[in-house]
């Protein structure tokens, strides 16, 4: 079938039309090989422009479409869909960016911008000639979800998914559900006991017929891709295999033990906030003078992040102490008070009102804790504004430490091919727009595994991750883009470089029968896992890996036409 290419060039109002001479580019496009139709539109993405594309596909019997306008990031799906409804395979469409790549960056050079637009359109036409029709891939999704970690985030996510009717496999390393919140005494800012929050949730999870809780169980291996993960669980000596469609990671974090700092480990009455809450649930008898030190091991060189809610935790314990005995003298030595969150500022003001002293210290002059034998009895801090040391007697010293990433994070990251950030926490796909997802499909994150989050955020993220995980399971199948890489088995030299570089674990070894009858080991791409990043293509030494829609042939055709001079 002869090629019949249609080119649509967008003015984008004055965004492109004000700089590039669009009619001239349209005229030029008509002279290009195999182009049977070209037009300029005020806005190609408007209904006028879209219907024009559909009409011309029919009227001129077009079998390739090029749109030169803005960025594929926002508009490619729209134009592809439009081509599809016009009766053309959606992968026979090529997008040329003459806004971000041309008019916006050459605003003051109209003539050269027009020349460049012509070049870009010519390259697009060269590429579109070589495109071949592709079909989207669909795979079935197992309607079950694995939730790793039974803390507040995991419990929330498990209950949400189970109530929607999906089978949930909840894996917890410890013998009890509840996670870190179990150690917490009362929660800010309501001062409710943590038991009141946890117990109903735990009993609901344990009694739900759609949830099977695997306690004292660890994850041994994860294989597969969205819709079809196979999981290997390890309990005591035995192992168990599971098949799930999605995974939610809610492994949480642990408390920093500030060994060697401020007499921790040296004095018996120096402890972290969480240790204090574990030891003193309500009876604060004999604690008449309390010193707390905030930012212990947080916002320092080796741990640059802020613990997010440690300030409030300290304030909470101070308020509880003060409520028990209003005569208690409490000094909180802090670097800044970070009381951001719903009603937290009021909580902070309440503490101020109750007469809890807040003393700022500088990181250059950290406080000192002195004592005799195994008891600390005095705190000393340099007051910067007054320019002198302030001393306070104390019965107990509480160190406010941040959460630190779980010990298993690296291992889990390797197992599931999900990224871990510099600070050791799991790294989400996008900090703002995709906070509970990973770059790999079908795996989601909730709670402190991602960053220190307080309870309400953990719950919110548990809901969010559950909602996200429910999407592929509700649809029953996942549709993935056809632009994935493929290996030509005859050319593959089985060096394994592509397997190493793939960030999604989409490539694996496979047997291949050669025409001669021999079987050899070759790399094989699983198209459902492939995201089309192209790293494997670049890494292949023998040119065996090609990316659909970006083959060497297509890209070289673009390169070859680049240096033809536009008239």
């Amino acid at each position: 079938m002869p090629l019949r290419i249609g080119v649509f060039i967008c003015h984008c109002g004055t965004n492109i039309g004000g700089i590039v001479d669009v009619p001239e580019v349209v005229e030029y496009a008509r002279t290009l090989p195999n182009v049977v139709y070209a037009e300029g539109n005020l806005y190609t993405c408007s209904e006028d422009g879209l219907s024009s594309i559909r009409d011309m596909i029919e009227g001129y019997d077009l079998n390739r479409v090029v749109v030169a306008s803005c960025t594929p990031r926002t508009h490619e799906p729209l134009f592809r869909k439009n081509c599809e409804s016009g009766g053309l395979n959606k992968y026979l469409f090529e997008f040329v960016n003459i806004r971000e790549h041309c008019s916006w960056v050459h605003m003051d050079r109209h003539d050269s911008a027009t020349l460049k637009a012509k070049d870009l359109v010519r390259m697009g036409v060269a590429k579109v000639s070589l495109l071949t029709p592709q079909e989207d891939l669909t795979t079935d999704v197992i309607r079950a979800s694995l939730i790793i970690g039974g803390g507040i985030s995991g419990l929330t996510a498990a209950l949400t998914l189970a109530n929607q009717g999906y089978q949930v496999e909840l894996v917890e390393k410890k013998d009890r559900l509840g996670g870190l919140l179990r150690d917490v005494n009362r929660v800010f800012p309501t001062n409710d006991p943590s038991k009141e929050l946890l117990d109903p949730l735990i009993s609901a999870v344990l009694n739900h017929k759609k949830i099977s809780a695997h306690l004292g169980t660890e994850l041994a291996d994860v294989n597969g891709f969205v819709g079809n993960f196979s999981i290997l669980l390890k309990k005591d000596a035995g192992t168990e295999e599971l098949k799930v469609g999605t995974i939610i990671l809610s492994t949480g974090a642990r408390e920093l033990k500030p060994e060697g700092m401020f007499g921790y480990g040296q004095f018996n009455n120096v402890m972290t906030q969480l240790e204090f809450e574990r030891r003193f649930r309500s009876n604060y008898h004999g604690l008449n003078r309390v010193v707390m030190i905030n930012c212990v091991g947080a916002r320092v060189e080796e741990r640059t992040y802020c613990g997010r809610f440690c300030c409030i935790t300290g304030i909470k314990n101070a308020i509880l102490l003060k409520e028990e005995n209003p005569q208690t003298e409490i000094s909180i030595l802090h670097r800044d008070i970070m009381a951001c969150g719903k009603a937290f500022e009021d909580y902070y003001r309440k503490a101020l009102q109750m007469g809890i002293k807040f003393i700022r210290y500088s990181v250059d002059f950290p406080p000192e804790i002195v004592g005799s034998d195994d008891m600390a009895d005095k705190g000393k801090v340099y007051h910067e504004l007054m320019g002198r040391d302030v001393q306070m007697e104390t019965d107990i010293v509480l160190l406010t430490t941040p959460l630190v990433p779980g010990e298993d994070n690296q291992e889990l990251s390797r197992m599931m091919r999900i990224p871990v950030g510099n600070d050791g926490y799991f790294l989400e796909a996008h900090q703002k727009l995709r906070p509970v997802e990973f770059p790999s499909d079908g795996i989601f994150v909730a709670g402190c595994a991602r960053y220190p989050t307080e309870i309400s955020e953990c719950v919110a993220q548990g809901y969010a991750a559950a909602a996200k995980a429910a999407v592929p399971m509700a649809r029953g199948q996942v549709i993935s883009d056809a632009f994935t890489s493929e290996v030509a088995p005859l050319r593959c030299s089985a060096c394994g470089r592509c397997i190493d570089v793939c960030p999604f674990g989409a490539i694996d070894w496979n047997e291949f029968k050669e025409p001669s009858g021999e079987t050899k080991r070759v790399a094989m791409v699983n198209p459902t896992e492939c995201k089309g990043c192209g790293l494997c293509v670049a890494s292949c030494l023998s040119g065996a890996v090609q990316m659909r829609g970006f083959t060497d042939e297509q890209i070289l055709a673009m390169v070859n036409t680049t240096f033809m001079v536009a008239s």
């Binding site: 003001r349 101020l352 009102q353 007469g355 809890i356 002293k357 807040f358 003393i359 700022r360 007051h383 504004l385 007054m386 302030v390």
Partner: protein, 159 residues
């Protein structure tokens, strides 16, 4: 007395201080006395007294404030420094710390801090107006009324 000071500190929300320093920035101390001293500034006083109100009885630094309300007006956190200063001085005077205060020449009631008084005298270069400063409002009013009364008693012919 120490407990009493603590009570005044709490009542006037000195604990609310966020250490922002707006109070010291708007304090007319620099204009009036010609120098800025941290220990005399609102922030300095608030910091120290909310921490440990010890050995302040005879301290001169507490007797510079003009009780002008500027700092209290600008405080973002609600520290009532003006109220605190008034109450604290009242308390100090009650306990007999009178070295740094000036009292009405006529009736002997508290007038203003000595430093403030001296500075006013310096600015006004003594004279009649300066003299007027050393008498409290009530005494001034009373002497005025006295004059009026005398005038009223004068025989009509002489008026």
């Amino acid at each position: 007395m120490k407990t009493k000071i603590k009570q005044i500190v709490l009542e006037n929300n000195l604990n609310y201080c966020l250490e922002c320093g707006k109070c010291s920035a708007v304090c007319p101390m620099l204009d009036f006395y010609g120098e800025y001293v941290y220990d005399r500034s609102p922030r300095g006083v608030v910091e120290r007294l909310s921490l440990d109100p010890e050995d302040i009885e005879d301290e001169e630094g507490l007797w510079y404030c003009l009780v002008c309300h500027e700092c209290t007006f600008f405080c973002p956190s609600g520290v009532n420094f003006q109220g605190f200063m008034t109450e604290l001085r009242e308390l100090l005077l009650q306990h007999g710390y009178r070295n740094h205060a000036v009292f009405c020449h006529a009736c002997g009631s508290y007038l203003m801090p000595k430093k403030e008084f001296e500075n006013f005298q310096k600015i006004l270069e003594g004279g009649k107006t300066g003299e007027l400063l050393s008498v409290c409002q009530r005494c001034k009013k009373n002497s005025y009324v006295e004059t009026l009364y005398k005038l009223a008693l004068w025989p009509k012919a002489k008026r």
